[in-house]
């Protein structure tokens, strides 16, 4: 009997403990979650960045990195910063936005890490393994490093249908114009063009105009224009618009006509290059993406290839550049909330291990700003398109950063919209350029002196 009573008492005690512990169900885990806002909403870019995250998580099992992809990155980030609900990290749309956030003290500088040793190590790595222009891109004119370039792109590329144009010379602007004319005479359309990429639709057109200006008027003029020291109505800028207009607004110059160019998503813009018969033969930009449903899958170097953007007949006021010039861009990751985990992730992004991942996933479209990685990749797979583009980055060329990315965001937005307006009605060019001059007058409160076309080059540095 006594034992039974004791058992009953024990049961009551156990039940009490059960009730107490049950009310505490759902305790928190120690795993730290980092959020990073990215613009890569789908496809190969999203998968490639996820591969970078996976590699980091494999080495840091106590940290989870949650990528939040959105088209409206700038709007989401701006709203988050205003409300004090910013993510731990974000891909910043351009150096202009990076500068703006740095000036608002919304960013954590890389030399201001809580872990001083890790911060110093990271800055040293960026100085030793990255060319000075990429390092300065992360400073965005503030004098302190704020960002790591996770992916670099070369924009000065003309892609072509190799099966159709293999025998045609494409080395000069005159060659390209000639090829365009002959295609039109045969009843085809030479160029593919796609502008839709909300909320920044129009940027593929800005890349075109920037490339023409760079290769027609030179790096000095390009820099002055980016810095707001050269008006949009200047002869050089106006000539670049007109050269582009002659290329893409002429009768039958672009696949489907201007409205199709305006409505086609950038990611699908090059699909007609790979149809049979081809809907177009030429495409400008950092990457060319075949329709994934096209069979047989186009083979790079055989079905399509690229030539670097050629120099145009220089304008009278052009500033000649000794080396070839290429327009490039970089995706910058900056830290908005400081934490040991975020610092670790930033340091990982700059490392050689992380920088190798993306180019391996998208060998013809994504490149590393890390010189050691670029040199290593340019030695791999001789004659491949990827190796040749890596070769451009590693050559003694002048690399100029994307102009609209380097302009104040108001100016860049107006530029995007102006391109759309121009395609809609090329006859309005004088009005459009005058309007851009007005925006320029307001968008540059102080004289800017950017390093958009630094004179140093990776090849020289490497040597």
């Amino acid at each position: 009997m006594r034992q039974k009573r004791q058992a009953a008492l024990r049961l009551l005690l156990v039940l009490t403990l059960l009730a107490a512990s049950a009310s505490c169900l759902g305790g928190s885990s120690d795993r730290r979650v980092l959020t990073i806002l990215t613009p890569w909403t789908a496809g190969a870019e999203k998968e490639s960045f996820q591969a970078v995250i996976d590699a980091f998580e494999a080495g840091n099992p106590d940290i989870t990195v949650h990528a939040s992809p959105t088209r409206a990155l700038d709007q989401v980030l701006r709203a988050g910063v205003q409300k004090g609900e910013e993510p731990d990290l974000a891909v910043v749309a351009n150096p202009g936005a990076l500068r703006s956030y740095a000036q608002q003290h919304a960013l954590v500088p890389l030399d201001g890490f809580q872990n001083k040793a890790l911060g110093s190590e990271l800055v040293e790595l960026l100085k030793s393994d990255y060319d000075p222009q990429w390092y300065r891109l992360g400073e965005a004119g503030t004098g302190r490093p704020y960002a790591v370039v996770v992916k670099a792109s070369v924009k000065s590329l003309i892609w072509y249908n190799r099966r159709q144009l293999a025998t045609q010379p494409l080395d000069s602007w005159a060659d390209l114009v000639g090829v365009g004319r002959s295609v039109v005479q045969r009843g085809g359309t030479p160029w593919c063009l796609a502008m839709a990429d909300p909320p920044n639709s129009g940027w593929p057109g800005t890349d075109w105009i920037e490339d023409i200006l760079l290769h027609q008027a030179g790096a000095g003029t390009y820099t002055a224009w980016v810095d707001g020291r050269l008006k949009w109505t200047s002869p050089q800028v106006s000539a670049a618009w007109q050269a582009w207009g002659r290329t893409v607004t002429a009768q039958d110059a672009i696949h489907g006509g201007p409205l199709t160019a305006l409505l086609t998503s950038y990611g699908e813009g090059a699909y007609p290059l790979f149809t049979a018969p081809p809907g177009c033969y030429l495409w400008h930009g950092a990457l060319v993406t075949p329709d994934p449903e096209v069979r047989p899958e186009p083979v790079s170097g055989k079905d399509y290839d690229f030539v670097p953007f050629p120099d145009l007949q220089p304008t009278a006021t052009a500033t000649p550049t000794a080396n070839p010039t290429y327009e490039v861009s970089g995706d910058l990751v900056a830290m908005f909330r400081d934490s040991p985990e975020a610092e670790k992730f930033m340091a990982f992004l700059a490392s050689r291990t992380a920088q190798e991942i993306w180019p391996k996933h998208q060998p013809e479209a994504a490149f590393s700003a890390n010189r050691t990685v670029t040199q290593m990749l340019s030695r791999n797979a001789p004659d491949s398109i990827a190796r040749r583009i890596n070769g451009l980055l590693a050559s003694p060329a002048t690399l100029c950063f994307d102009a609209s990315d380097s302009m104040p965001s108001t100016m860049a937005a107006a530029f995007n919209h102006a391109v759309l307006d121009y395609l809609n009605d090329p006859g309005r060019l004088p009005t459009i350029l005058t309007g851009l001059d007005k925006v320029q007058a307001d968008a540059y409160p102080q004289p800017a002196q950017s390093s958009v076309c630094p004179s140093s080059s990776s090849g020289q540095e490497a040597k």
Partner: protein, 380 residues
């Protein structure tokens, strides 16, 4: 009835003839009865409190959050329908985007703000919510740009690019809202499946109750056998008080559960279904109008200017009617009332439970104190 006066203890034949053993038994029974009564009452309060929290989590937060996500989705689809229709009909030129569009945008933002306040689906949902908020700003900017382009030229073709960009944004917002709704449904299922709402944990208090009842029976048996007390009024009071506690607790938990189930399985499901039907109709009509606009501007030979639009499937596609809106409002109101009733039932008068428990414990102690005292005095 308990007889007054002192009765000499009479040990049972099978018990050792040691008065201290009976006293110890009585003291232990008293301790167990008091502790058991208190434990029963405490568990009743804990279970009620957890059920109340569960009702609040499921009916007061997760379900309304899902309703707000559905409402935001519906308002977005309606904004797209109204905007595209305005462009197709040309009313944007003079009438602008109109009040209905502005109301829809305001409704989206209001629903998103409420959704953020509920914050039930974790950090991923919070992140998605921020994305939607940013995308809605971008969407509205594109629609306004399209309206400006249209008003400037009076040509649909000039407005079409910005309208198409807005549509691409609209698709992304819809996809993110779908994700939020999925997360919301999972959060609701999780809350409803919690041990306090779906499991037998809410009957936890019955375990000590049954044990204590058995102890009461044992005590009565001891009192009758050793002291010839057939009925103890204090013991009976204790049993009645404890039984009342258990009944009160069980009844309120049952009523709360019934109200919550009824609200979630009835008007809530109806409100969600109606909201989804409205959103679907608006989206279909917007798609048809957009297709007509693009087909008007682009010949089919250009694959509709590079858009991925396809001819819409024939079917009924009209915007939400006033009757639908009324039904939706009514279903939401019924759901809210049901949750309020469930909430009230689960948290009904906890002081009554506390009082009954204390009465049960005190009466149990009081019932055995005189018998224990007899031993104490007898031992002197």
């Amino acid at each position: 009835m308990t007889a007054p006066g002192t009765v000499a203890p009479e040990p049972g034949a099978d018990e050792p003839a040691m008065p201290s053993t009976t006293a110890r038994t009585l003291r232990r029974l008293r301790g167990a009865l008091v502790a058991g009564s208190l434990l029963t009452g405490t568990l009743c309060l804990v279970v009620s409190s957890q059920a109340h929290a569960g009702t609040d989590a499921a009916g007061g937060r997760a379900a309304p959050a899902l309703l707000r996500a559905e409402a935001a989705s519906g308002a977005l689809a309606d904004a797209q329908r109204v905007a595209v229709h305005g462009f197709l009909q040309g009313t944007v030129v003079l009438g602008g985007l109109g009040d209905q569009y502005q109301n829809d945008i305001a409704a989206i933002n209001q629903n998103l703000a409420e959704l953020a306040r509920y914050n039930v689906a974790g950090p991923e949902a919070t992140s998605d919510l921020q994305l939607v908020e940013g995308l809605v700003v971008a969407y509205n900017a594109e629609i306004e740009q399209a309206a400006a382009d249209y008003q400037q030229t009076g040509e649909l073709t000039r407005a079409l690019p910005a309208l198409w960009y807005a549509t691409l944004q609209y698709r992304e917002i819809s996809a993110t809202l779908d994700r939020l709704r999925t997360e919301g449904r999972a959060a609701l299922a999780d809350r409803r499946g919690s041990v306090w709402l779906a499991g037998a944990m809410d009957l936890l208090f019955l375990v000590p109750f049954v044990v204590v009842l058995a102890l009461f029976a044992r005590t009565q048996f001891v009192l009758r056998r050793r002291f010839r007390r057939r009925v103890s009024i204090w013991l009976t009071t204790a049993v009645l008080a404890l039984t009342a506690t258990a009944l009160w607790c069980g009844q309120s938990l049952h009523a709360s559960d019934r109200h919550l189930r009824s609200a979630l399985d009835g008007p809530f499901v109806q409100a969600v279904t109606l909201a989804q039907q409205q959103a679907s109709r608006s989206a279909t009509q917007a798609g048809e109008d957009l297709f007509a606009g693009v087909a008007q501007a682009c010949p089919a030979t250009t694959r509709f200017c590079g858009t991925d639009l396809t001819p819409p499937a024939p079917g009924p596609a009209t915007g939400g009617t006033a009757e639908d809106g009324h039904q939706l409002g009514q279903a939401e109101a019924e759901f809210t009332n049901g949750v309020t009733r469930a909430d009230a039932s689960s948290s009904e008068r906890p002081t009554v439970v506390v009082l009954l428990t204390l009465v049960a414990a005190a009466a149990a102690a009081r019932a055995l104190n005189p018998r224990i005292d007899e031993y104490r005095f007898g031992g002197r």
